[in-house]
Structure formats: C-alpha cells, structure tokens
C-alpha cells in the first residue's frame, strides 16, 4: 500500500499538461495524486468549478481517462449512473474489467449545492471515491463564501468591512457529517503529504463501497498568497490543526501524518496566527479591533482538535 516516487515516475499521466488552472493552483496536484493512487483503470466525474472548466476547454481536454461533467451539483449522481451501467453490463458479461469510479467536486459543489446528491449516492452505496477539492470558497465564480469558508476569511460575498470581520460563521464540519453516513471509508488529506494522501485515496478506491476524501486545496488567487508557496500553505494548514489529517475506516477513527505526531507530542502544534499571517484573505484580522476573532478561531480549532483526539482514541 505504500507508494515510492520511483514507482510513481513510471505511472501513466491520467491528467496531462495543458490545462488552464492558475499558476500554483493545488487542484491539479491533488487530482494527480489521487489519480496515480488507482491501480485500476478509472472513470471520472467532475462537478462544475475551476478544475472542470480549466481542464476541458473545448476542443481540448487534459483527460487521458474517461471523464464526464454534467452540472455543479450532480457529480455523485453522474458517477452513480456510470457505476450502475457498469454493474448492469458486468452482470450481462459485456464488461469484464475491474474499474474504479472517482468524482471530484469543489467545496461549493460538495458542502453546499451538491450535498444532497452526495449524501444520496453514499446512502445508496455506489462504489466510488468522492474527492472534495476544498479551497474554502467558490473560486470559479470569483471567490464567494461557501459552507467551507473559515471564520474571518474575506470573500467577495463576505467582505471585511468596518462592522463585519469577513465570514461570520465557522466552516461546516463536512467530513464528520459524511462519516455519520457510516460509509466504509472517509478521510481528510493534504497535498503536501502526498504519500498519506495517496494511501488514503487507494484505500478509498478499494474499500468496496462509497468513500469520501476532503482535501485542503490552497488557492493562491482566492487566499492571496505567493503561488510558489502552495505546498507550504497546505503544510501549515495541518501544522496549525486547522486541517487535521485523519481517516475513518470501518468504524474506526485515526489520526495520520503530522496530525498523529502532533497528538503524540512528537511535533509542535503551531498557533493559528501563523496561518492567518500567511494569507491576504485574513489580512484585516491583524488589526487590533479584530483580535477577538483570532482568539475565537484558535478556540474553535482547539475544541475541534480535542474532539478529534477523543474520537481517534475510541
């Protein structure tokens, strides 16, 4: 189950160069890691969003594998339909190959508008891995808030003003909501820890039922940071415990990667201030006036972190 760089360097390019994502965008990085984790052929469904539009500008496509995009909110249903035909044709002996099914959606497509389709597809038990490319806002339409946007972040629909400090609410804990579906596999991952991410993707693809991965996907445009720092920023998300790495497998929670080491006291848990200072979207919070907001964010991170440690000790 472990991946080596040498081995990966020989794997086929399922998502090729030539897409139009911004420089430094982590969506293609995450997607390539996930795609490489599948030892079997894959069929991919994609929700509307940056990743979809940038990889398929007609008459070009960056996809070397069968791929379908239909709408913003229905990638889980689309891949469910593909899987249904696969089951039917396999039963009738018209297909013999083993195929993995994969869906990508942004956080808007996943936390908000497509949540119903995702929940329904998981409940029905379609065999597919759903990967949320979580850049914490609707980037494709120009950086609007989503249910994944963090408290205090500025977006174009939750701008920071003299009275309001950016987004008022904490993000919805979607991974835990999905885990409440009692599916075979769910995880949070980050592209900086590629091995952890790929092992999780492989487990998700091979778990025999629906699987979910929520991946922090830094967006230099929307988060306002130097495009050279994408991987650093994703590492920071984990080191501050803003984005803990963990998995839920067959009813058991476990911390992984840096998060496991932080919980074991082998690695330092960095303050959220480091996270806030790293990105322009939080710049306004550095004014004295909004220091209570930073405290609230820290308190929320600590609370969620403690809960997670308890869950993983169960």
């Amino acid at each position: 189950m472990s991946f080596t760089l040498k081995e990966l360097s020989h794997s086929e390019d399922r998502l090729t160069e030539g897409h139009r994502l911004c420089a430094g965008c982590s969506e293609s990085i995450v997607a390539r890691q996930v795609l490489m984790a599948s030892k079997k052929p894959v069929v991919v469904a994609n929700a509307t969003g940056c990743f979809e539009v940038s990889t398929t500008i007609y008459p070009f496509t960056s996809w070397n594998v069968p791929w379908i995009h239909s709408a913003f909110e229905n990638a889980p249903a689309s891949i469910g339909g593909v899987e249904a035909t696969y089951l039917a044709l396999k039963r009738k002996g018209k297909i013999t190959e083993d195929i993995n099914f994969l869906a990508f959606g942004g956080d808007g497509a996943t936390y908000d508008i497509g949540f119903q389709a995702l929940s329904g597809a998981i409940e029905r038990g379609h065999r597919f891995l759903y990967v949320c490319l979580n850049n914490e806002a609707y980037m494709n339409t120009g950086i609007q808030r989503s249910g994944a946007t963090g408290r205090g972040a500025q977006t174009t629909t939750c701008p920071a003003g003299t009275c309001v400090p950016g987004k008022k609410e904490f993000p919805k804990d979607l991974t835990r909501i999905i885990i409440a579906h009692d599916l075979p596999y769910a995880a949070q991952a980050s592209p900086h820890n590629w091995r952890d991410l790929m092992e999780k993707a492989e487990k998700g693809l091979e778990c025999g039922g629906p699987a979910f991965m929520n991946v922090v996907t830094p967006c230099p445009r929307g988060w306002r940071f130097d495009p050279a720092l994408t991987i650093e920023i994703s590492r920071l998300a984990v080191e501050t415990c803003i984005w803990p790495l963990y998995e839920f497998e067959k009813g058991k929670w476990s911390l992984t990667g840096e998060s496991k080491r932080i919980a074991e006291g082998k690695k330092e848990k960095r303050p959220v201030m480091d996270w806030i200072k790293s990105q322009g979207r939080f710049g306004h919070l550095l004014k004295d006036k909004w220091s209570p907001v930073i405290e609230e964010i820290q308190a929320n991170v600590d609370k969620k972190w403690e809960e997670l440690i308890k869950l993983s000790q169960m």
Partner: protein, 386 residues
C-alpha cells in the same frame, strides 16, 4: 396476444419490462409513481436484469440517467410536474451529450397552488430542452409510444433523449383494454443497444461535458437542431415499422374527418378522443367539422400541420397549458405553420383543462360554434370562472 386490461402507467412499466433497459432511475411523483413501483416489482422478482436505482431526487435521477447513458447503457426513467421542472437544468445536458434516454412523463400541473391533476405545463416547460416529445392519447398509445421511443431516440441519425407523455390520471390511472406484443417481438423490434463512444470504453477515453466557449457553443446547439430535423422522418419510419409488427397505424399528426371539414379543433393527449366523439355528434347534425390529434410536439411538424389545416375556414388550437403573458404554447406554433398558407384559416386559441379541469362535450361544441360564427378572441379560456 390476448388483450389485457392495464392502466397507462402499468402499460409503460410493462413495455419497459419487455425492453429490459440496463439502468432505470426512479423517484416517485404522482401520477407517475405506479410506473416505478411496478418496475421495482419486476426487479424484485428477477423478471428483468436492470440495475434499478432509487435516486434521492429527480435532479439526481436524471443525472444518474446521464451518467448511465454516457457510460453506454440503455436507460429509462419517469417523472411528472415538479419532478420534470426539477430536472430542467439537466434535461439540456442530456440532449447536449446526445444521450438517447427514454423518459415517460405523466403530465401534471405545476405548483402553485399545488395540484396533482392533468395539464401539459410540465412538458411545455421542457419543450426547448432538446428532447423529442411524443404525446399519447390512451393506454394503448402509452404502450406503443414507449416501445417506439427507444428506437427513435437510439437511431444513429438522431441520438436525442425522448419524452413520451400521457395525461395524468386520465390515462395513467384509467384501466383500459390493451393489446401488447410478445416480449421477443418487442426485443427484436427495439434491437440490442449500440452505444456511441461510451465512457466505459477504456481504450478510447472520451471527455463528456466540456466547457465550451463562444467559439463552439453555438455549433453544438446547431447540431442538436439538425438532429431534431432528422428525427421527424425517423419517427415516421419507426411508426411505419411498428405498424408492421402491431397492426396499429400511428402518425405524427392524425386527422379525424378533416378532409372535407370546414372547422377543425386540434389537441394533444386524451382530449383527442373526446373531440372525435364531438365530431361524430356534430357530423350527425350535418356540420362539416373535424379534429386533429398532434402526437409529435418536438420536433414540431410544421409542414404536416400546414398540409392538414390549410384551406379550412376555422381552426381552434386547444392548449392544456399556458405560457403566461402570451397564449397557450401550441398556438403560436400552429399559427407559424399556417402563416405561409395561401388559404389561411381563421385561427383561435383555447386554453383549457388546467389543473385537471374537465373538458365537457358541450364546451367543445361551443368552440366549434364560436369558430363558425367567428365569435371568439385570439386567446380564449374554456370553462374558467372569471
């Protein structure tokens, strides 16, 4: 085959069973629910090999159909009213991907106020989405149209999704005499499904549903329009072929005593039957009247409509739907068809039967009378209290 008694929904489920599609996606909505319930029983009893998916909404049901059809499966589903409206976004995508999905629509009014009875607002709301639309008059046509719909949609020159519509309750829930075909005859008629560039063909990976900008979008739409044009002769051919195996003649537009008629009323769906009765009664009184039943609404058969109605003194177009702020939706189409006619009839629109409002024999006689005396407005409302 011995005739049997089934309602319209059961007749459709029966046709599906004989065809045994690879995937059926279901979500209940009255008056369609009987179709997916019946089919679930066939699945439960191993009578079909279909992968039967209970979606969590109509939006997902249609999205599942899109994925399933793109994957290379033969696919069917059913809906009505709000369900069809909820699918509206993805109906466009099904036609744009040229997926021959077959959908039965049990025509029902749209909210609000909420109402479960028949009118054609649902199908008319979807008329521009690139789906072929066939309307059936009774249980027999529900069955026949369903069998034919697979062959029409899957034709290599067409490859467009198709809606076969029947009137909610009036046909969906009415028990009628039905002549079915042997299952093997149906299977042979429909033939094995030939997928085009399926997603499950791993050797030829295909990108479905790309982002298409101003430089190509218009061309994509134009191609759907061209496929629609090709659909009309295909529908006619399939109806002819079907007559050979069933002995039942269908057409895209059917006239009743129209040859020598001066006054004609045109309608879709179950009202066509009532109209024939009214025509018979008035003919008895010596009135030169006829009626027209339109079976194919998309693509709209402009030439055939013109041919049938040119030279009449008066034509009434009965719309069981309303395009609020304009007229009934079929009316402008018929007027367009007649615009170039040398001998253009007086033409009036009658909006009727919304939300299941009964259409009465005397009311229809009144329409003929108003045509004869030209005592009508452009848009008229049948049986509505002001």
């Amino acid at each position: 085959m011995e005739p049997i008694a089934l309602n319209g929904d059961m007749a459709i489920a029966h046709a599906w069973r004989q065809i045994d599609p690879d995937v059926v996606a279901s979500y209940p909505i009255t008056p369609q629910t009987i179709i997916v319930e019946n089919y679930a029983e066939f699945v439960a009893n191993g009578e079909v090999e279909t992968e039967y998916v209970c979606a969590e909404s109509e939006h997902s049901a249609m999205s599942l159909c899109i994925g399933a059809s793109a994957a290379g499966g033969r696919v069917a589903t059913a809906t009505a009213s709000a369900g069809l409206a909820f699918m509206w976004e993805v109906l466009w995508i099904a036609s744009a991907m040229r997926l021959p999905i077959c959908m039965s629509v049990a025509n029902r009014a749209l909210s609000g106020p909420i109402n479960i009875q028949c009118d054609h607002s649902d199908a008319m709301g979807a008329r521009d989405t690139g789906w072929i639309q066939l309307f059936g008059e009774n249980v027999q046509e529900a069955y026949d149209n369903t069998v034919m719909s697979f062959k029409i949609a899957e034709h290599s020159g067409v490859r467009l999704p198709i809606m076969t519509c029947i009137d909610g309750f009036i046909v969906t829930h009415a028990l009628e005499r039905l002549e079915t075909l042997e299952t093997q005859v149906v299977k042979d008629f429909v033939g094995p499904y030939q997928a085009v560039r399926p997603l499950l063909d791993l050797k030829n990976p295909t990108t479905y549903g790309p982002f298409s900008q101003t430089d190509y979008y218009f061309e994509h739409k134009y191609q759907i329009m061209e496929a629609m044009k090709r659909a009309k002769p295909v529908v006619k051919q399939v109806q002819k072929d079907y007559a050979k195996i069933s002995g039942r003649e269908h057409s895209i537009i059917e006239g009743y005593k129209t040859e020598d008629a001066d006054y004609v009323i045109m309608a879709m769906g179950s009202t066509a039957g009532t109209l024939r009765h009214v025509v018979d009664e008035l003919r008895h009184e010596g009135k030169k009247v006829g009626s027209v039943k339109l079976r194919l609404f998309r693509p709209f058969p402009f030439d055939e409509v013109k041919e049938m109605l040119e030279g009449k003194k008066g034509v009434a177009v009965m719309d069981r739907a309303i395009s609020t702020g304009s007229s009934g939706p079929m009316f402008p189409e018929v007027r367009t068809a007649l615009y170039d006619a040398v001998d253009r009839p007086d033409i009036a629109n009658y909006v009727y039967g919304l939300g299941g409002r009964d259409v009465k024999i005397d009311e229809l006689k009144g329409v003929y009378k108003q045509l004869m005396t030209k005592d009508h407005d452009m848009v008229n409302y049948l049986g509505v209290r002001p």
